[in-house]
C-alpha cells in the first residue's frame, strides 16, 4: 500500500540470483494509476520497468557485490513515497560481553542464519584498526574451528588483559561479506574474590551472633 509513508524492507541473499522487486498499489489508490512511478538505485534511474494493472516492477540480476544495495520505488504525484530494498545477510555474534579471566580460555561462537558462508575470518579491534586473527601464526594462542557449515568458533588461550576488546567474525558470501560483533571482557581473579570474601565474612558474623545469642539466653534461663 502507498500512503505517504516510507516503507523499508530488507531482503537477504546469499548467492547470485535473479530477483524481481515490485511496488504495488492498493486498490483504493487505483485512481492514482496515471501517476509516475520511478525505480531508482541511489540517484540512478532504472529504465526497464514492467508495468501491470497496479504494480511497477523491475527485474534485477544480482551477480556480485556491486549489485547489492538500496533500491527505491518512488511514486510521484500528490504524495511522494518510497520503498527501499536492501540486500544483506545477517550474522549473529553475541550482544552481551563474554566474561572470562586472566589465564583462562575464552570461546567465541558466531552463527550465520539460514545461509552458508564460503569462509569465515576473525578480526580483533586494536584501537581503531581491525587486525585479522591469525591462528597459524599464533597456534598456541588462537584456535579457529569451523564447527559446522554455519558456525565458527574462536578459542583464545591464556587470556591476558590485552585480549580484552571487540572481536568481529566476518562471513564471506558469494555476494559480499557480513559481520558479527562480539565483546570479550577479561577480568582479574580479584574481581569476584571481593564479593566472595564479603559474603563469607557475613556468614561467619551471622553464625557467631546466633551462637552468642544462644549462650546468652541459656545463661539467662539458668539465672532465672
Amino acid at each position: 500500500g502507498v500512503s505517504g509513508t516510507s516503507v523499508e524492507k530488507n531482503i537477504t541473499l546469499d548467492r547470485a540470483t535473479r530477483i524481481e522487486l515490485s511496488c504495488r498499489l492498493d486498490n483504493k489508490y487505483s485512481h492514482l494509476k496515471s501517476l509516475q512511478v520511478t525505480w531508482k538505485r541511489g540517484n540512478e534511474t532504472i529504465r526497464h520497468i514492467n508495468k501491470t494493472e497496479n504494480s511497477w516492477s523491475i527485474q534485477l540480476r544480482i551477480l556480485d557485490n556491486s549489485n547489492l544495495g538500496g533500491y527505491s520505488c518512488t511514486l510521484k504525484g500528490e504524495e511522494e513515497t518510497s520503498a527501499m530494498f536492501h540486500l544483506q545477510p545477517k550474522i549473529e555474534g553475541k550482544e552481551k560481553p563474554i566474561v572470562s579471566y586472566e589465564g583462562d580460555t575464552a570461546v567465541m561462537i558466531c552463527k550465520s542464519f539460514d545461509y552458508t558462508p564460503i569462509a569465515w575470518t576473525w578480526y580483533m579491534t586494536n584501537g581503531s584498526e581491525q587486525i585479522a586473527v591469525n591462528d597459524s601464526l599464533l597456534a598456541d594462542k588462537y584456535v579457529i574451528n569451523r564447527l559446522s557449515a554455519n558456525v565458527t568458533h574462536l578459542k583464545i588461550l591464556k587470556l591476558t588483559k590485552e585480549d580484552d576488546g571487540v572481536y568481529w567474525c566476518e562471513a564471506a558470501f558469494e555476494l559480499g561479506k557480513s559481520k558479527g560483533k562480539l565483546k570479550l571482557r577479561v577480568l582479574s581473579l580479584m574481581v569476584p574474590l571481593k564479593p566472595f570474601l564479603a559474603i563469607v565474612a557475613e556468614v561467619v558474623i551471622l553464625v557467631t551472633i546466633v551462637f552468642l545469642y544462644e549462650m546468652y539466653s541459656k545463661k539467662k534461663e539458668k539465672l532465672a
Binding site: V99, I109, L187, V191, P192, P195, F196, I199, V207, V210
Partner: protein, 505 residues
C-alpha cells in the same frame, strides 16, 4: 522445676523460637529445591566453553537432583545420630566447597563431581534436617509451619533466577560459581538457628513413670526404636533400653526399616512414588511448550514466574487451611484431592489455546503445585508420627528419587515420539489423578482400620504406659489433656511429618 517434669516430655513449643526455626528452614529448603533449577542459566555458556552437547550438560542437573534425593537415608541416619543442627551446618559447608571447587573446573567430569555430587550431597544434608526439625518444634501449628517453610522453594527460585543472570553477566560462569558457593554458605546460618530441642537435650529423665514414655523421652533421636515397639517389634525396644544391640537393631536404630511394615507409610510411599512420575515434567516443558505454540521467549518465561508467584502464596495458605480443625483430621483426603486436582489441570492443559489459556493453566498449576508441596511432608508426619519421621523421610526420598529422575525424560520421549506436547500432559495428568485416587481410597481404608484398632486398644488397655499408635495421637490432637499418650504421639507424628516435607517440595 525439673523433677516434676522429669517423667514427661514437654510438648513441642508450637511457637516462640519455633518461628525462627521456620525461617531457617525456609532458607535451607529454598536453596535445596531452587538451586538445581537456578543454575540452568549457566548451561549454555558452559556447553560452549567445554564444547559438549546439551544432554551432557543436563546431566549436571540430574546428578545434583539424584544426589539430593538419593542421599536422603544418609541424611536421616546422621540426623538420628547427631540432630539437625550439625548436619545442616555440614551441608552448608559442603555446598560451599562444592561450588567453589566447581569454579576452577577444567572438564565436564569435574563439574559432575563438584556441582553434581558434592553440592547435591550438601543440599541433601540441608533438606532433610530442616523438615525434621519443624516436626520437633511444632505440633498444633505444624501444617502452617510446614507450609511457610516450603514456601522457601518458590521464593528462592524467584530470587536466584535474576541473581544468577546478574552474576553471569558480570562475572562469567566461573566467577558466578565462586560467589554462589559463598551464598550457599548461608545455609550454615540457617543451621545455626536450629537449636536442638526435645529429650535429646535433657540428660536426666530417669524418673519416668512409664517405661514407654521414658524410652521415648530419653531417645527422642532414636525414637524409631520406641515407636516400633507397639508395632510388634518389641525386641528392638528392649534391646535398646537394655543397651545390648544386635546388628538389626543397630541398623534400625539409625534408620527404621520396620517402617516398611507400617500400613500408612506404605500407602504414602506407593502413592507418592507414582505421583512423582508426573509431577515435575510439566514444569520442565511448560516454557518449551509455550514457545512451540508460538509464544515468544519472554512471555514463556513469564508463565513460569506466574507459576512461582501463585505457588508462593498457595503454600502458606494451604498450611493454614490444613491446620484448621475441619481439615486436619482428614488431611490425607485433602492431600489426595490436591494431587488429583493437579492431575486434572494437566489433563485440561491441551485444551488451553493461546497465551491467555496458558496463563490460566499456569495459575491453576501453581496453585495445585503449591498445595501438594505444602502438604507433602505434613502428611507423612501425620501418618508415621514425629518419632519415626526421621527415618521415614530418608526412605521415601530415595524411593522417589527414581521416579523424579524418570519423569521428565519419559515426558521428553513422548514429545519426541509424537511430536506433540499434549501426550505428555495427558500422561502426567493421568498418573497424578491415579495417584490421588489411590491415596484417597487407601487412606479411607487406613483411617477406618486405625479407628477400629483404636477402639480395640482403648477397650482393653487401661495402662497409659504402653506407647500408642499414631491414631491415638491424631485423635488426641484436639484434646489438650496432659496425658502421656497425646504427648508421645504428637512427637511421633511431628517427626514423621518432617520427613514427609523433606521429601517433597
Amino acid at each position: 522445676p525439673p523433677p516434676a517434669n522429669a517423667g514427661r516430655v514437654p510438648g513441642p513449643p508450637d511457637g516462640g523460637w519455633g518461628w525462627v526455626v521456620v525461617f531457617g528452614a525456609f532458607i535451607s529448603i529454598g536453596f535445596a529445591y531452587a538451586f538445581p533449577k537456578g543454575i540452568a542459566i549457566f548451561f549454555k555458556e558452559i556447553q560452549d566453553f567445554f564444547g559438549t552437547s546439551y544432554s551432557e550438560i543436563a546431566w549436571v542437573s540430574s546428578i545434583m537432583l539424584a544426589t539430593t534425593y538419593g542421599a536422603g537415608p544418609i541424611s536421616s541416619i546422621l540426623v538420628n545420630r547427631y540432630g539437625s543442627r550439625p548436619v545442616v551446618i555440614l551441608g552448608g559447608l559442603l555446598c560451599g566447597i562444592g561450588m567453589v571447587s566447581a569454579a576452577f573446573c577444567t572438564s565436564i567430569l569435574q563439574l559432575y563431581i563438584c556441582v553434581g555430587f558434592i553440592t547435591g550431597f550438601g543440599l541433601a544434608l540441608n533438606l532433610q534436617p530442616s523438615v525434621i526439625i519443624i516436626g520437633k518444634y511444632f505440633l498444633k501449628r505444624r501444617p502452617i509451619a510446614n507450609g511457610l517453610a516450603m514456601a522457601g522453594s518458590p521464593v528462592m527460585l524467584c530470587t536466584l533466577a535474576p541473581l544468577n543472570q546478574f552474576l553471569f553477566d558480570n562475572f562469567g560462569w566461573r566467577g558466578s560459581f565462586l560467589i554462589l558457593g559463598a551464598i550457599l554458605l548461608n545455609c550454615c546460618v540457617a543451621g545455626a538457628l536450629f537449636r536442638p530441642i526435645g529429650a535429646a537435650t535433657a540428660p536426666v529423665k530417669t524418673q519416668a513413670t512409664e517405661e514407654g514414655k521414658d524410652a521415648l523421652k530419653e531417645e527422642v533421636i532414636k525414637d524409631a526404636m520406641e515407636m516400633s515397639s507397639p508395632m510388634n517389634i518389641t525386641m528392638e525396644t528392649k534391646t535398646e533400653e537394655e543397651g545390648g544391640k544386635g546388628c538389626c537393631e543397630k541398623v534400625n536404630q539409625y534408620l527404621d526399616f520396620s517402617l516398611f511394615k507400617h500400613r500408612g507409610f506404605l500407602i504414602y510411599l506407593i502413592g507418592n512414588v507414582l505421583m512423582f512420575l508426573g509431577f515435575f515434567a510439566p514444569i520442565v516443558f511448560l516454557a518449551p511448550y509455550a514457545k512451540h505454540i508460538g509464544i515468544d521467549e519472554y512471555s514463556a518465561a513469564f508463565l513460569l514466574s506466574i507459576l512461582a508467584i501463585v505457588d508462593m502464596i498457595a503454600r502458606p495458605t494451604t498450611g493454614i487451611i490444613a491446620n484448621s480443625k475441619w481439615v486436619r483430621p482428614r488431611i490425607q483426603y485433602f492431600f489426595s484431592f490436591s494431587i488429583a486436582f493437579n492431575g486434572a489441570c494437566h489433563l485440561l492443559c491441551p485444551l488451553a489455546s493461546g497465551y491467555t489459556g496458558l496463563v490460566v493453566y499456569s495459575i491453576f498449576f501453581g496453585l495445585a503445585f503449591g498445595m501438594v508441596c505444602a502438604m507433602l511432608f505434613e502428611t507423612l508426619m501425620d501418618l508415621v508420627g514425629a518419632a519415626r519421621f526421621t527415618s521415614a523421610v530418608g526412605l521415601v526420598t530415595i524411593a522417589e528419587c527414581c521416579t523424579i529422575l524418570l519423569g521428565p525424560p519419559i515426558g521428553g520421549t513422548l514429545i519426541d515420539t509424537f511430536g506433540d506436547y499434549k501426550y505428555m500432559f495427558i500422561k502426567c495428568g493421568a498418573v497424578m489423578v491415579l495417584a490421588g485416587t489411590f491415596l484417597f481410597i487407601m487412606n479411607y481404608y487406613n483411617y477406618h482400620t486405625v479407628a477400629k484398632e483404636e477402639k480395640e486398644r482403648k477397650a482393653k488397655e487401661e495402662d497409659p504406659k504402653s506407647v500408642r499408635t499414631e491414631n491415638e495421637g491424631r485423635n488426641n490432637w484436639n484434646k489438650e489433656t496432659a496425658q502421656d499418650g497425646p504427648e508421645l504421639e504428637p512427637l511421633r507424628e511431628e517427626r514423621e511429618g518432617l520427613k514427609k516435607e523433606v521429601n517433597g517440595t
